[in-house]
Amino acid sequence: MSLWKMAASNFKRSMREYFALIVALAFAVFVFFNFQNMVYSESMKVLQNMRKDYIDTVIEAASIVFGIFVFFFIWYATNVFLNQRKKEIGIYTFLGLDNMKIGKLYAIEATCIALASVGLGIVTGIGFSKLFQMAVLKLSDISVNVEFSFSIPAILITAGLFFLFFGIMIGKGYVSIVRSSVRELLFSAREAEMKREHPFVKGGKIVLGVGILGSGYFCAMKTGGINSLQYALAAVILVIAGTYFLFSGVIPLLIRRLTKNKHFLYQKQRTLWVNQLSYRIKKNYRTYAMVTILMICSVTVLAMAIAMKSRYENVVHFRQTYTYQINSIDPLNEEEIAEGISQENEIVYDNKIPYLVLDEYGVVPYSAVKEAANRADLAFPYEELKEDEAIQLSHIIFLSLNLTQDESVRIGETQYQILNKDETAYLGTLQEQVDFYMINDTVYDNLKLNNTEWYLYNYKIKDATNAEASRPYLDTLVNEQDGMHRTGYSVALPENKEETWCKIFYALCIFMFATLILASASIIFMKLNNDAWADKEQYETLKKIGIAKTNLAKSIKWEICFAYYCPFVLMVITSWFSVKALGNVMKQNLIFVNIVSTAVIFALFTLICIESVHVFRKKVL
C-alpha cells in the first residue's frame, strides 16, 4: 500500500475522531472568509458614502486580530492531532517505516484535515455570506439591501492564509517526527504528564503567577488618570503572563494539595477526578491559560464595542440636543423665530443663552444656563458659583480619551478654579467649536460691560427628518455685514453618515466576541475529546474492578466541569479588572456589560459542558 493510500484510508477511518477538529477549524475559516468578503464584496459597495474606507480599515484590523488568533488555534489543533496520532504512527516503525515516511504520512493526513476544513469553511462561508452581511448590517442598524455575492480575492486570501499557517504547523510536526525516536513517539505524551519539576522552578512559577497577575490587577485599577494608556497596556501584558503562570504554578499546586489531603480526597468520587486533574494539569495548563486569555479578550472586546457604541450614541445625542441654533450679535425676538419655525415644524423646546467671547474662550452666566437646561430638560446639578469658580462646558470627542482635566483657567484678567468638566450640550454644537466656561452671574455682568455680548437661540423640533423644511425661513434671519455674519444659524441633521463606520465596528466586535467564545469552548471540547481517547483503557479497568458506572459518570462530570469552569472563574475575576480599566479609560460604567457577557459565556459553557460530558461518557463508559 502506498503512503498516499495509507494516509487516505487512515483519514477516512478516523473521520469521526477528527470531526470536532475539522468543524472547529472550518468555523474559523468561515468567520475569516466572511470578514474578507465584507471588504471585497460588491454588495457592500452601498456603504461607499458612509466612509467605506474607514469600515474596510476596521474590518482589516479585526481580520489581523482574528488572524493572530487563528495562527495559535491552528498551532493548538495540529498539536492535538499530532499527539493523537503519535502513538499509532509510532507503531508503524515496527512495520519497518522510517521516520521520514512516518513524517510524510502525518503530513498527508494533516493536509487532508487542512483541505477538509478550509474547503468546508469557504463553502459554508460563501453559502452564508449574504446572511453574515445582513446580520452585521442589522446589528449595525444600517438599512441597505444586500445582494448575494462573494469575491474571488476573499477566497484566495482566506485559503492562502490558512494554508500558510497549516503549512508552517505541518512542517513543524514533520520535523518533530523526523527527529523523534520510536520511544518518544510511543511514550512522549505520558512522559510529559509524569515529568516532575525542580522545586525551585515550581516555586518560581507560583511566585511569578501571583505577583504578575496581582500587578496586572493593580495596573488595571490605576487606569483613569493621565497615565491610563500605559497602565492599560501594562495590565494587558501582565494579566496574560500572570494567567499563564497561574495555570502552570498556583493551580497545579492547589490541586496537588487537595490530593494530599486524604480526608478530603477519599470522599465521593474525588479520588478519581481530583487525581485525574492533578495528573493532567501539567499537559493541559497551556490550554486552560489560552482559553482564559481568549475569554478575557472576548469580554474586553465586547465591552469596548458597547462603550464605543454608547459613546457614538452620546455624540449623536449631543449633536441632536438642538435642531436649530441661531447665533446672533444682535438681540432677536425668540418668539418670532419660534413662530417662523412652527410654520413647518412642531417645536419640542427652545431656550436662549447670552455669552461673551474673551480671547479664545467663551463665558456664559450661571442663571442663563440653568434656565436653558431647565427648558430643554437637561440635567443641571450645580449650585450657584462663587466669583472665582467655573464649570467647563466641554463636548464628547468620539475617538479621544480626553483624560486630562485642568484645575484652573485664566480668562481675561481673572483666574478661575474649574469645579467640573461637563459634557452636556447646554450650548449645543457651539461647545464643539469654542471652549466655554459657565461663571458667576455678577462676574459675567461685570465682564459684559467691556465686551460684546452674543445671543444663542436654540430650538428642538419633533421630527428631525423634516429639519430641512424650515431652512428657507431660517435663511431669512441671516444677516451679513461687511463680510461678517451678525446672525447665522446651524441645522443638526438626523444622522451623520461620516461616523457610520463605528456601528460596523460595533457589529464586528459582537461577532468577534461570539467567535472567541465559541473558539474557547471548542478548544476545551477538543481537549476533552483527546483526554477521553487517552482514558478509554483506564475506564475499562475501572469497570472491570467493579467501580459502578454511576460513580464513573459522576467523576467524569466533575472533571469536565473543572475544565470549563476553572478558566471561566478566572476569566470572571480578571475580566472584572479589565472591563473596569476600560471603563476608566472610556469614562463609562461598564459593569452591566461585564455581567451580561459573563452570563452569556456561562450559558454557552454550560450547554457545551453538558454535551462534553455526554460525549465523554459515551466514549469511555
Partner: protein, 251 residues
C-alpha cells in the same frame, strides 16, 4: 466450609452455526471460603474464558454460576456491577494501576468510591500495605514502581474491599522470579491470615504450586485436580509430573 461459588455445567461458545466453537464444555466446580485454587492448562484450553465467566466479565452460553447463593447468570448489568464491586476482586496480568494517582490512592480507590469514610479507608490501606510490604512505596506513582511492586499494589487494591473471592489472571506473567515469589507469598498470607479465597489462572507450575488445589483444564474441560498435601516443593514436583504425563507445558 462455607460455599462461596458453585459452578454447574458451564458452557461457553463463540461464533454462530457452522462457525461455532465450544470453548468450555460443562465445567462444574465448587469454591469454598479459604480456598486457593490455581487453574492451569495449555494455551486455548479455556483458562481465561473460565476466569472471565467466573468473574462476571463475560456471560456463559449456558449453565449456572452461583455466587454467595445468587445465580449471577440471571442478574442485570446493574446488579452485576454491584456484585463486582462488593464480592469480587480482580488482578490483571498487566497490573492496570491508574497512572495518575499514587499507589496509596490506587489501593484506596475502590473503597473511597464506595462511600467508605476517609479514616476507615486510610486504616485499611495501611493494613494492605503491611500485608503486601508496600509501606515504603505508598506515595510513589506507578511509573516509579517495579513490576512486582505494581502487582502487589494491584493485589492490595483488589483485596481492600474484602471480596468474597479474588480472581487473578496470570498475576506473575510479567514478573521476574523474585517478584513472583514475593507476590505469591503475599497471596499465601492473605489466604492463610485473612482467609481470602483466591482463584488464579496460570500456565506456570511454580506459581501454581503456591495454591492449595490445582485444576487442569484441557479442551474446555477440567481433566484432573491436585490437592496440596506435602510441602510446596513436593507439590511443585507433583504438578510438573502431571504436566509431563499430560504432555503439557513445563515452566
Amino acid at each position: 466450609m462455607e460455599k462461596i461459588m458453585e459452578v454447574r455445567n458451564l458452557r461457553k461458545s463463540f461464533g454462530k452455526k457452522e462457525y461455532e466453537t465450544l470453548v468450555l464444555k460443562d465445567v462444574s466446580l465448587e469454591i469454598s471460603k479459604g480456598d486457593f485454587i490455581a487453574v492451569m492448562g495449555p494455551s486455548g484450553a479455556g483458562k481465561t474464558t473460565l476466569l472471565n465467566l467466573l468473574s462476571t466479565l463475560d456471560k456463559p452460553s449456558s449453565g449456572q454460576l452461583i455466587l454467595d447463593g445468587e445465580d449471577i447468570t440471571k442478574v442485570d448489568n446493574k446488579r452485576l456491577s454491584a456484585i463486582r464491586r462488593d464480592k469480587i476482586g480482580f488482578i490483571f496480568q498487566d497490573y492496570n494501576l491508574l497512572d495518575g494517582m499514587t499507589l496509596q490512592d490506587n489501593i484506596a480507590l475502590p473503597l473511597s468510591l464506595n462511600g467508605v469514610k476517609g479514616k476507615v479507608v486510610l486504616e485499611k490501606v495501611q493494613k494492605m500495605a503491611d500485608l503486601f510490604d508496600l509501606n515504603a512505596h505508598l506515595l510513589k506513582y506507578p511509573y516509579q514502581l517495579s513490576g512486582g511492586q505494581k502487582q502487589r499494589g494491584a493485589s492490595a487494591r483488589a483485596l481492600i474491599t474484602e471480596p468474597k473471592i479474588l480472581f487473578a489472571d496470570e498475576p506473575t506473567g510479567a514478573l521476574d522470579s523474585k517478584s513472583s515469589k514475593d507476590l505469591l507469598k503475599s497471596f499465601l498470607s492473605a489466604n492463610e491470615m485473612g482467609k481470602a479465597t483466591i482463584l488464579m489462572v496460570t500456565h506456570d507450575a511454580y506459581t501454581a504450586s503456591y495454591a492449595k488445589q490445582v485444576y487442569f483444564l484441557a479442551d474446555g474441560q477440567i481433566q484432573c485436580r491436585l490437592h496440596q498435601k506435602g510441602s510446596p516443593k513436593e507439590f511443585y514436583e507433583e504438578i510438573l509430573n502431571l504436566l509431563a504425563s499430560m504432555g503439557g507445558e513445563r515452566a
